[in-house]
């Protein structure tokens, strides 16, 4: 009985010491509070995959009433900023010097061929930014279709087959809907893994861990004292993201809120586990922080399905994503936020995360005990 009381008192003292260290070091607060806010602002306002307006040069070699009308339709499009040029040479010079993002060429036989039903225009795009080039290509369809329909005296539906698309879970195609769940994963990853990666290593580098060895403290108690304060710091970050998601970006939570919190906490434990294990194993702040970044931060961005589609990755890379925690967390968050409590998605992913958290903590505990003996 007294054994337990002593144990709890030791843990309390250690947690207190760790918390004071966090509160007194401005950089810890920076990562716990400033960092989530910064991320929310960056993701909410800085990162947008839409190309708002593209500037294009137009070369009208046809100079007919038809080509003038087509240029008019491009001018009416909200996506194009037109610069009329007089020669192809002038346009390509602008293009090469990045004065314009693309060049639209209306060839001299445009009107004549239109009467035979095989008119074509040419669009020159800059492949150095492949994504933007493809967006320009897609934007151009609009004015061209409108022009074709007006000339034929028809309604601009295209056809005969028309697509009617419905985007489930995100009807208005609001990119905040997929950014907010991904944001939570990123914030948990960095607070959890990055900070803790340094804390145990720091005690080794400074030699303070040896001072702790001579006290009655046990390895398990030491770990608990390292987990609790950083877990709390992670929860602050999580709370900030939740608030931003609700009040700033108005992203609905369609799944159960409890499950969402529970999943986030489980993932936070995984991140803490990675950080602590790495820190315990390498005992160097530089190495630990680099490893934590490579193992958690980069995969959370690139290999999680947050930005890039997992199904389109080559099999070997997809295999790697299964070994890393972020893909499970992103799938969980996106589903709980946008789709709801889909059992076939939630339980397997949550199960894997829980298993990873348990494994990591046990491994950390084992490697800590070894060093103490």
């Amino acid at each position: 009985m007294t054994d337990w009381v002593a144990k709890l008192r030791r843990i309390r003292a250690l947690i207190l010491k760790e918390s004071k260290q966090i509160i007194r070091d401005p950089s810890s607060i920076a990562i716990g509070v400033v960092f989530p806010v910064l991320m929310i602002l960056l993701f909410g306002y800085g990162m947008s995959l839409d190309v708002t307006r593209v500037s294009v040069a137009v070369v009208d070699e046809d100079a007919s009433s038809g080509s003038a009308a087509l240029i008019g339709d491009f001018r009416l499009s909200p996506y194009f900023d037109l610069k009329v040029t007089h020669s192809m040479a002038e346009a390509t010079t602008m293009f090469r010097n990045r004065g314009v993002d693309g060049v639209i060429v209306i060839p001299s036989d445009f009107s004549r061929r239109w009467r035979h039903g095989d008119a074509r225009i040419q669009i020159l795009v800059n492949g150095t930014d492949a994504n933007q080039a493809r967006i320009i290509q897609a934007y151009a369809q609009g004015p061209v279709a409108i022009w074709g329909a007006t000339q034929a005296g028809a309604t601009p539906t295209g056809g005969p087959v028309v697509l009617e698309s419905r985007m489930w879970f995100n009807d208005s195609n609001d990119s905040h809907y997929f950014l907010v769940p991904g944001l939570i994963v990123l914030v948990m990853t960095i607070i959890g893994a990055f900070l803790t990666a340094m804390v145990v290593a720091r005690e080794w580098e400074r030699g303070t861990i040896e001072a702790l060895f001579v006290t009655p403290m046990r390895a398990g108690e030491f770990l608990i004292s390292k987990i609790v304060p950083y877990f709390a710091l992670g929860l602050i970050g999580f709370g900030l993201c939740l608030l931003a998601g609700k009040f700033l970006f108005h992203v609905p939570i369609r799944g159960s809120f409890t499950l969402l919190c529970f999943s986030s906490m489980t993932y936070l434990m995984v991140a803490l586990g990675v950080g602590l294990l790495v820190s315990t194993l390498v005992k160097s702040q530089f190495l630990a922080s680099q490893l934590a970044m490579i193992l958690t931060m980069m995969p959370a961005m690139m290999l999680s399905g947050f930005l890039f589609d997992l199904r389109s990755m080559p099999p070997v890379i997809r295999g790697i994503t299964y070994a890393l925690p972020p893909r499970y967390a992103v799938t969980l968050m996106q589903t709980l936020y946008l789709a709801g409590d889909v059992g076939s998605v939630v339980w397997p992913n949550l199960g894997v995360l829980a298993a990873m958290a348990a494994t990591l903590l046990v491994l950390t505990r084992l490697s800590t005990r070894k060093q103490l003996s």
Binding site: S27, V125, G127, A130, S165, M298, G305
Partner: protein, 372 residues
């Protein structure tokens, strides 16, 4: 003058030893950039090459079969199931087994044959709206081709205007061609800025910085001694990624190495300068690491790597004037793919030079302040 050079040389040697003598530290500097370059080279692409989908075809006509076989034949669309009932759609979408479901109503062919418009409904999983939008675009392309063929076969007038896309510098518009040259700057910055940020902070934490202060070193000399080794390490990382881009991913380098390396040296000056600046402010390694991280993250997110700078709000665009990575990305891509020369790249060279000079001299000045 000569003794100053000797001192700097000695410090450079010592810095190299400090970083490279530990095999784990050598490993962490050179292996991860290689792995990351290869993995992200494959992973970081907005192109979809595998779209799993399910079909609810209520028409069972030759026209609907033709449309679906075009999807299956595209190589991108992988049919997972033929659904029978409307109620099955949500199960396939919810579980993520199908990214999209295509529904064709029973009057599809009948409407087409009498010259009416026939609708095809596409239901797409919008959990990642970006992926969803791209997939919808792909379906649209297939339907456009179907329409064009149907029109010409049935003599319907009003053939659309064809748009020929010619893409310069990257003929097949492969994401990888823009992504991998961009990784030269991105991965190098992550490595060097962090490494440099720790260099002074480590000495301070271990107390060796005080020892350095009682030697005849001037702040400027310490700065050069710290900057050069990290720049050399950065250049090595950049070269490694350049080699992977050419010999692993076979992306043809058409530019000039002189222009590229001139740009990289300036970029590394700026990155190392920022690192040293952070390092001279930080009191501990943890602080240095976290401050560096708080710089690297927005710099890489807002560099134009994944999202275009032109669609950021004006305010952020003007803040990002100080971001060396955005200039480095532009520079490496354009030298690599477009063979851009010094004159065209002046808008990148100039700011990089300014950032480098300001941060490096700022760091040297701060060393001096700490000395007194």
């Amino acid at each position: 003058m000569r003794s100053s050079l000797l001192r700097i040389l000695a410090l450079i040697l010592k810095e190299f030893l400090a970083v490279l003598k530990d095999p784990r530290s050598r490993f962490i500097i050179f292996v991860p950039p290689i792995l990351q370059c290869v993995i992200f080279g494959y992973a970081a692409s907005f192109d979809l090459n595998s779209v799993s989908y399910a079909v609810l075809n209520l028409d069972h006509s030759s026209a609907s079969a033709d449309l679906l076989s075009r999807l299956d034949g595209s190589g991108t669309f992988k049919r997972q199931a033929n659904l029978e009932r409307m109620e099955d759609i949500s199960e396939w979408i919810d579980s993520g087994r199908a990214l999209l479901v295509i529904r064709i109503d029973q009057d599809f062919e009948r409407r087409l044959l009498v010259g009416k418009v026939a609708q095809v409904q596409v239901i797409v999983d919008g959990r990642n709206s970006n992926t969803a939008g791209t997939a919808l675009g792909y379906v649209g392309t297939v339907v456009d081709q179907f329409n064009a063929d149907w029109r010409s076969r049935h003599g319907i007038p009003g053939a659309p205007v064809a748009i020929d896309i010619r893409s310069w510098y990257n003929p097949n518009l492969e994401s990888r061609w823009s992504m991998i040259p961009s990784l030269i700057g991105t991965l190098t910055m992550m490595g060097t800025l962090m490494l440099t940020a720790l260099s002074v902070a480590r000495e301070r934490e271990q107390g060796t910085f005080d020892q350095l202060l009682v030697t005849p070193f001037r702040p400027f000399e310490i700065m050069v001694g710290k900057a050069v080794p990290n720049m050399v390490i950065g250049l090595t990382q950049a070269t490694t990624i350049l080699l992977i881009a050419q010999f692993w991913f076979h992306i043809p380098f058409i530019g000039s190495f002189v222009v590229l390396y001139a740009g990289l040296v300036l970029f590394l000056m700026a990155a190392v300068g920022l690192g040293l600046f952070v390092s001279s402010i930080a009191m501990t390694m943890q602080q240095a690491m976290l401050f560096a991280f708080l710089l690297v993250l927005p710099f890489s997110l807002l560099s134009g790597l994944t999202t275009p700078i032109s669609s950021m709000p004006e305010f952020l665009q003007s803040v990002m004037v100080i971001n060396p990575l955005r200039y480095a990305l532009d520079l490496t891509r354009r030298v690599y793919l477009e063979d851009a020369g010094f004159a065209q790249l002046l808008p990148d060279f100039l700011p990089l030079t300014i950032i480098g000079i300001v941060t490096l001299s700022g760091a040297a000045w701060l060393f001096g302040r700490r000395l007194t």
